[in-house]
Amino acid sequence: MKKALALLVALTLLASLAVGSAGALASTPGKLLIWCSEAQVPALKPMAAEFQKKYGVPVMVTEMGFGDIRPNLITKGPSGEGPDLIVGPHDWLGELVANGAVAPIDLTANEESLFTGTAIKAFTYNGKLYGMPYAVEAIGLIYNKKLVPHPPKTLDELMAVAKKLTDPAKKEYGFLYPLGDAYHAYPFLSADGHYFFRLTSKGFDAKDIGIAQMVPGARIIATLTQSGLVPKGSDYNTMASLFQSGKVGMIMTGPWQIDSIKKAGIDYGVAKLPTIDGRPATPFVGVQGFMMSAFSKNKLLAMQFLRDFVMTKEGQLAIHKVDPRIPALKSAFEAVSSDPDLKAFGESAADGIPMPAIPEMAAVWNAVQNALTAITNGQTDPVTAMKTADAQVRKAIAQGAKK
């Protein structure tokens, strides 16, 4: 028993020591912490060093898996272990705002006008600005110059060109895109001005659901598959690998594919998405930016960091260098617009609409993806498929409103 006593005494002594040190681990004001994914680290590290040199305020940049940032902020923010700033796409906002994880940021009208309108619109949620954008992206038409010397300007041209190039027996295709993916299908689905949720001046209206009306677009998709142009098994990986092997004339996807295509040695070009029935195609636009944690103890310091490095041409170009997407700051975009790829993706994005950030979108992805698969499989007709998806979304949202 003596030993037990001795151990207990030691324990108490150590505990009293711990009281002193416990304060040091809690997040302290006067020190900035940024969570970002791999892509931005090389750009942010030098900025952190510069900020520290200029103001004497230490800045920590922590790399995290892209998919981990949002859930970690939601769970660790409230317990005081979260960062001051996170880097991520605008469509995280719905969940982050609903969970009270991010705080609005204040920019003057002048400051807002430095950014492209789409970028600011994307980060505006419930009428408040929740992030400072640094990059914009949307899908465009990537084509193999050897097979398609002049990219088509309209959907009809595209189908005509594709028809000539398609020979399934040789695994040669004129045009591919990931069939079952609602994000890639959106330029078609939104043909004729249709929408998942209507975009109002206050953001997307979750009560105004237009999925059942997306029949013209759904018919285009049905035609593409039933005419044998796009094979039923066309998913993202199939599209990417076939294009990289030089067997595909055109694909519809985003700038993230460019790197692999270059490495595969394909002589490629990028064009704006073709017009559909005389109207410009409206792809979903994703905007990357910096968001402020609601639990940050350094909101003003974080704002200073954003004003110094994200609201400046130099800062945006530095990020662009390691994360080559379309800069969201007008002056930075002009500086890089001589790059034809970026220019084309930029033009596609200019006609697009921000991807809805409202949490209700989760129901849409699931339902519309099911509808797309049913259409392209030939399991059902476009009208029924879109009607079913519409009903499913309404049901899911109503269920959510009940609680």
Binding site: L14, A15, A18, A367, N377, Q399
Partner: protein
């Protein structure tokens, strides 16, 4: 009663650290860390976790020092991990099933109140001020504010008042553009202020109905509090409209049903369970999904068992040349992570460009719609899962075969039994006693085999016309994943917890029945031996 031969009871000493400084050091470090964690958690406000950890530490010290509970020492580490890794997660899941924990309800109530309470908004005609700070960068700071109309205000001690003749006067060298001193206090350049910005940002100065606070390195802004909280009545009042919000179903809700975001976690009783059973939309595809789950789990075990058995018997044949080589090759699918194999298989089975259809086209002349038709999608799943699962079956069967005594076979041969008879009457019954329980385990595993379904077909092809998105190859766990995480309200963790409890009950019942049957098989085979 003393007995001459009886030896004294073996002594069970407490742990002696004499001559074992490393052990002593390790024990001290562990205890110190534990004690530190206790205090840290307590100071952070996690009192219950701190208390439980403290009791755990006390118990550990007791177990390892008291001779009375000596045998407990051997299983103590196991017990600790059992509680941490099994009991706690199960307990937390059960608890969560009775809450609305999930998107919109992640914060605790006090956190939600605090966030709403500290929410500021700019009134329509909000004023802004430029400012100069005076004093000691590390000590007390006084702010001199200058409005758009040129009026000078003094901000200190939480209040703002116009600068009067009695106050210390600002000294400027450039006619009021910049100030050098305020009375005796020197001006602080903005760059010096920045290190303290994080403390200063929380300071507010009363200004009529509003407050003024620092909004950037060179500006003060007028702000108003949006809500006031009355802890006695547990009511949040919107200061602009006077509307009152009371806690209801995890949100502060006004009389006319308006809710304030963020909400908070609250207990909802059996709501998550009743929803599962009463909601028409969920029940719609449920029957089909449930039947397919049973078929999937049963058939996949049967298929894997047959393949494993055939290969196991073959590999056990001592006359087979290069036996070890074949064994190693056949184990390979088991060595490759299932995630990768599953994704590779989706590529191989691709309807138009996959290599399997490429070969089949030459043989049968047309493509099999692997992922487009419900029937073939199911066949594809069995195929992929056969690839993933047969090595496990082969391994356990090879192991079990070694435990069947050779004399039995010898006796059978002497009696003139054919190889088929030997397998049917000796090998199989004896095998079943060993691998029967493992088959039940395999069934339970495949019943919840989310990975394969999600990665290979994603539940597709879709059920046309279903009220809730579901697919023909969705099993219970992937279907409920759609409901809880892709249902349109973010992550409904509480609902997901409730579903996992229900699935646990189903699997437990089925397993119990199966164990009964294996026990029967065991009894039968014991009669044989």
């Amino acid at each position: 009663m003393a007995h001459p031969i009886s030896s004294p009871r073996p002594s069970r000493p407490g742990i002696s650290f004499a001559g074992r400084p490393l052990a002593l050091l390790a024990a001290a470090v562990i205890l110190a860390l534990g004690a530190w964690a206790c205090v840290y958690l307590y100071l952070r406000g996690d009192r219950w976790i701190a208390l439980i950890l403290f009791l755990g530490l006390l118990a550990t010290v007791y177990v390892f020092t008291s001779p009375r509970v000596y045998p407990l020492r051997y299983i103590w580490p196991g017990l600790v991990f059992f509680v941490l890794l099994v009991v706690y997660p199960i307990g937390y899941t059960v608890y969560s099933a009775f809450t609305n924990y999930g998107t919109g309800h992640m914060l605790s109530k006090s956190q939600a109140v605090q966030q709403l309470q500290s929410a500021l908004y700019a009134p329509p005609d909000a004023k802004t001020f430029t400012f100069t700070a005076f004093g000691d960068p590390k000590g007390k700071i006084v702010f001199l504010l200058k409005g758009a109309d040129g009026q000078l205000l003094l901000a200190q001690d939480g209040r703002v008042k116009p600068l009067s003749a009695d106050d210390p006067q600002p000294v400027s060298k450039d006619g009021g553009q910049t100030y050098e001193r305020l009375g005796d206090l020197p001006a602080i350049p903005p760059l010096k202020l920045i290190a303290r910005l994080s403390q200063l940002q929380n300071q507010t100065f009363a200004y009529g109905e509003s407050v003024l606070s620092i909004s950037s390195l060179n500006q003060f802004s007028e702000m108003r509090h949006q809500y006031k909280y009355d802890p006695q009545r547990d009511v949040l009042t919107n200061l602009a409209t006077g509307k009152e919000y009371r806690p209801k179903d995890g949100y502060y809700t006004s009389a006319d049903g308006q809710t304030l975001s963020p909400g908070f976690t609250s207990r909802v009783g059996f709501y998550n369970f009743t929803r599962l059973f009463e909601d028409q939309a969920i029940r719609g595809p449920f029957t089909e999904v449930f039947i397919w789950t049973l078929v999937w789990a049963t058939l996949t075990v049967v298929i894997q068992l047959v393949a494993g058995l055939a290969l196991g018997l073959l590999m056990n044949d001592p006359y087979l040349k290069l036996r070890n080589f074949y064994r190693s090759v056949l184990i390979l699918p088991y060595a490759i992570p299932a995630f990768i194999s599953a994704l590779v298989w989706t590529g191989l089975l691709n309807t138009d460009v996959g290599i399997i259809n490429g070969i089949l086209r030459h043989i049968i002349g047309f493509n099999i719609p692997w992922f487009q038709s419900p029937f073939w999608a199911k066949v594809a799943l069995f195929l992929v899962n056969l690839w993933l699962g047969y090595p496990y079956m082969m391994l356990i069967i090879l192991g079990a075969l070694q435990s069947i005594p050779g004399e039995l076979y010898e006796a059978a041969r002497v009696d003139g039994a054919t190889p088929g008879q030997i397998i049917r009457t000796i090998t199989l019954p004896l095998l079943m006693t060993t691998i029967g329980p493992l088959l039940v385990g395999s069934f339970a595993f495949n019943f919840n085999n989310f990975n394969v379904i999600y990665l290979v077909t994603g539940g597709n092809p879709p059920m046309v016309g279903a009220q809730t998105p579901a697919g023909h190859t969705d099993i219970l766990i992937s279907y409920t994943y759609r409901l809880a995480f892709e249902g349109g309200q973010g992550n409904q963790l509480g609902f997901a917890a409730a579903i996992s409890i229900v699935i646990f009950v189903i699997v437990a019942v089925i397993s119990l029945i199966q164990f009964r049957f294996t026990r029967l098989a065991e009894e039968v085979s014991t009669d044989y031996v």
